[in-house]
Symmetry: C2
Subunit: 496 residues, 2 copies
């Protein structure tokens, strides 16, 4: 019976790898007229995966093995536990609706690309409405004792998380961060800040620098690769095949830098999952919040660290010659400049949470039926005005800036904020073990990735996120480390 | 019954598209440590295709429909005819051997790459031996009334072709071409020829020029793309997704030019197969010889034509600045210089046949058991010495230069010679309809590709090659047009 289970798991993993490969192609290079066909193929493979996971054979096997847990290895026990949850979830969604939805989310990504390029929300509005409708419907099917429909979705990305706890979490951040931000803005009026770096750099050169940086922070090119796409992402066939993208905009060469360090954080996590988890259901990174903690750790705590850039600054000038004309101290201040902006992925560390809060509030209302898609542009722009004091010129720099909703990731955004908080909490724990800044200055990034690999990455899905966070940091999610980290760092930079 | 057949065909096409996509990835970018897994996936999908094609359901359906041909459309009739042949063939090969072989040929390509890079035939020798052994074995299973085992394989790529006819074909070429080549070599002694173009050009720039040229000759980037790989090839998921590669060697920028025009010829053929053949078994190009006629037509008759380059020469100088220092007439002579060399894909039009003859003779002997793999390096080098008067410095510029044998393409090489002959025969017919050189000078490549599309491409596999050639040119394969074309062109260039 265990052998049969292993065989089906292997089969599931192959379908997954195949799916990811086609997705990769669709996102990075599929010719225009080939997209509908490959999207159909994605639908068919998702259907195969779905059929396998809900087949009598697989379900019976899991339920039988679940009854004899004591005979199983630790890995198998966890596989069965997660499979029981998946079975639960999938059984409640009718097969044809699931297939339709898979095709829809896959195809709609290319529609979103077009709509964004043309700055025309109407092109993708209908698709987005369908995606939200499906999510509401699925949440209705699956709802047990969750207080709201939105709570059902939240749980998919961060198990155990609910609206109640999140409301508290965000209000805590708000309470501390907003006045601190105000202080900085007051101080900014009295100092002369350098202009934002925006010297144009060829896309080819940006890609080369991206590959260099990715390798520098520890991404292994024998087990992965880097290309370009409309929106940066990380995808993995398995731990030996992890793929990152970057979007190289000629006029903002620094975006590429932080975006690729971010994705590398995701990628290294996947590459460092344990070898013993290959061909199991556990050989991939944990919850979204934990995954984001790894990417944000790399992007901000490592990649925006003075000690990271110090030994690297001359080298960086070889790729981006304009850096040779900027003093290092000035560069450091510049990459950590606080400035409310419209684009989430370009936001500084302080205003970032406001971007997330806004999305959290809107998707919560949409799913819970308090507003609908037609209201979206208006509400988005009102909240941007309220939180950031800004007005989007068009929907491409407003509600169409992120791919998430358009490919079905609803309830995902809060993970970014949770990830930031986890990252600081993990950083606090790491510092007790060794001098992180010294490792960065010594260009010994391996010390950091080894530590993360040993404490977090190697477990894959074997342990759940709350357990890992507890073991690594000694306590549960606590926003105080995030708040302290931000205050300490930016008090220094802005001398307040 | 017909509906069921359509459904299975659609399924077959999807498996094919999926397979091609993974092959594309393996050839162009799969990370080193991911290759074995993706090769396994290829094996599994080939197995699915095999299982479907040999399933009782499919076989019975085909056999039943074969009995009621009069009720079928023209397309269905031809599908059933080809399916009957495929069933015949596959039924004779045991499933497990077929699966092993598919994995072997897929994986062995990467071994070949390594062996070629390290100039060490011993790395890939064992793999090559297995591939030849499998081909011998399969030919033995499948042999009916063919005179030799090799004839069985020949038939796979060029139906109706046999050793007897090929021996005559090659001896005809030999009889005419060898003395003509001698004349040219005598003349060469009395003239001063310019040095071969070998100014280094960045690989990135070469790729940009390759994309430009591909588009210029009519390859449609909404239905295809161009990337790089170890060995140039064309692959198609379907007519809306055709993918070409080029190998850009910094030191020989002109190789890229002719290689991409060659592959574009293949690609345009696929893109122009009829829309009514989508989702049938006929939506792809015909026999290998006919396919090669299209690529060689583009590469030589179009791409090495004075009228092709005349209006393009200034533009070419923008990509390859060294061209600005070369007079156009000199350039034209240079790209059509006759000079025996070691590498087939870089061979001039005259000595090209000698490269094919050599491969034809060797693979014929290997399959018929007259020599074995251990003898290969010695025999290869002896024949190269005999036919071309040259000695390879190592096996990478000898028997490892072409991917074909290493991925199982045995009996394929003769198609190149047949393709050349067809190309000249087709060119002769085209000239009766319009002034081809004038179209080239007017940059009206569409006139040429439309003609090819209408007369050849649109039929896909609906008609067989002998029928198409007969309809287009009024007669069967006849090497005289090839010989006339070569003599006329090179008599002018060398003024003999």
């Amino acid at each position: 019976m265990r052998e049969k289970f292993r065989e089906l798991v292997k089969r599931k993993n192959r379908i997954h790898a195949n799916l990811e490969l086609i997705q990769w192609d669709l996102e990075t290079k599929t010719p225009l007229k080939s997209r509908p066909y490959l999207s159909e193929l994605v639908g068919e493979l998702s259907m195969q995966d779905y059929a396998l996971s809900t087949s009598d054979e697989f379900v019976n096997l899991v339920e039988e093995l679940n009854k004899q847990k004591e005979t199983l290895t630790e890995i198998e026990k966890r596989e069965i536990e997660l499979s029981m949850e998946e079975i639960e979830k999938k059984k409640k969604i009718p097969a044809d609706e699931y297939e339709d939805y898979a095709k829809l989310t896959s195809y709609n990504q290319t529609v979103w690309e077009e709509a964004k390029a043309k700055k025309d929300f109407s092109i993708v509005k209908e698709g987005l409405k369908k995606i939200f409708d499906y999510n509401k419907k699925f949440a209705t099917y699956r709802r047990k004792d969750e207080k709201t429909l939105y709570d059902v979705l939240l749980n998919d990305y961060e198990k155990g998380m609910d609206t109640e706890r999140l409301d508290v979490f965000f209000s805590e951040l708000k309470k501390e961060i907003v006045p601190f931000l105000k202080k900085i803005q007051e101080k900014k009026k009295t100092i002369k800040e350098v202009d934002k770096i925006s010297v144009p750099i060829d896309e080819d050169v940006q890609l080369k620098f991206a590959k260099f940086l990715s390798s520098y922070v520890g991404f292994d090119f024998e087990k992965g690769l880097v290309e370009t796409s409309e929106h940066p992402f990380t995808l993995n066939l398995n731990k030996n095949d992890v793929r990152l993208t970057t979007k190289n905009k000629k006029d903002s060469p620094m975006s590429t830098v932080f975006s690729i360090i971010h994705e590398s954080g995701h990628g290294i996590y996947e590459q460092q999952t344990g070898d013993e988890l290959i061909d199991t259901l556990l050989g991939t990174g944990g919850s979204m919040g934990l995954h984001e903690s790894q990417s944000r750790f790399m992007e901000n705590i490592v990649g925006a660290n003075k000690a990271f850039w110090k030994p690297l600054y001359n080298k960086a000038g070889e790729f981006y010659p304009f850096l040779k004309d900027i003093e290092f101290e000035e560069f450091y201040k510049q990459i950590n400049r606080i400035e409310p902006g419209l684009i989430r992925v370009e936001a500084d560390e302080l205003t970032y949470s406001l971007h997330i809060m806004l999305r959290y509030e809107i998707e919560k209302m949409l799913i819970n039926g308090e507003i609908n898609i037609d209201d979206l542009p208006k509400i988005w722009n009102e909240k941007v005005k309220e939180y950031l004091g800004l007005e989007p010129k068009n929907d491409s720099e407003g509600l169409m800036q992120d791919i998430h909703w358009y490919c079905g990731l609803i309830g995902y955004f809060p993970s970014y904020a949770i990830g930031n908080a986890y990252a600081s909490q993990i950083y606090n724990a790491m510092k007790k073990d060794f001098d992180v800044e010294k490792a960065l200055e010594n260009q010994d990034l391996k010390k950091i990735t080894d530590w993360l690999g040993e404490k977090i990455h190697k477990y894959g899905l074997l342990k759940d996120t709350p357990t890992i966070i507890k073991e690594v940091t000694g306590e549960e999610l606590n926003p105080k480390y995030y708040i302290e980290y931000l205050k300490e760092k930016y008090s220094k930079i802005y001398e307040i």
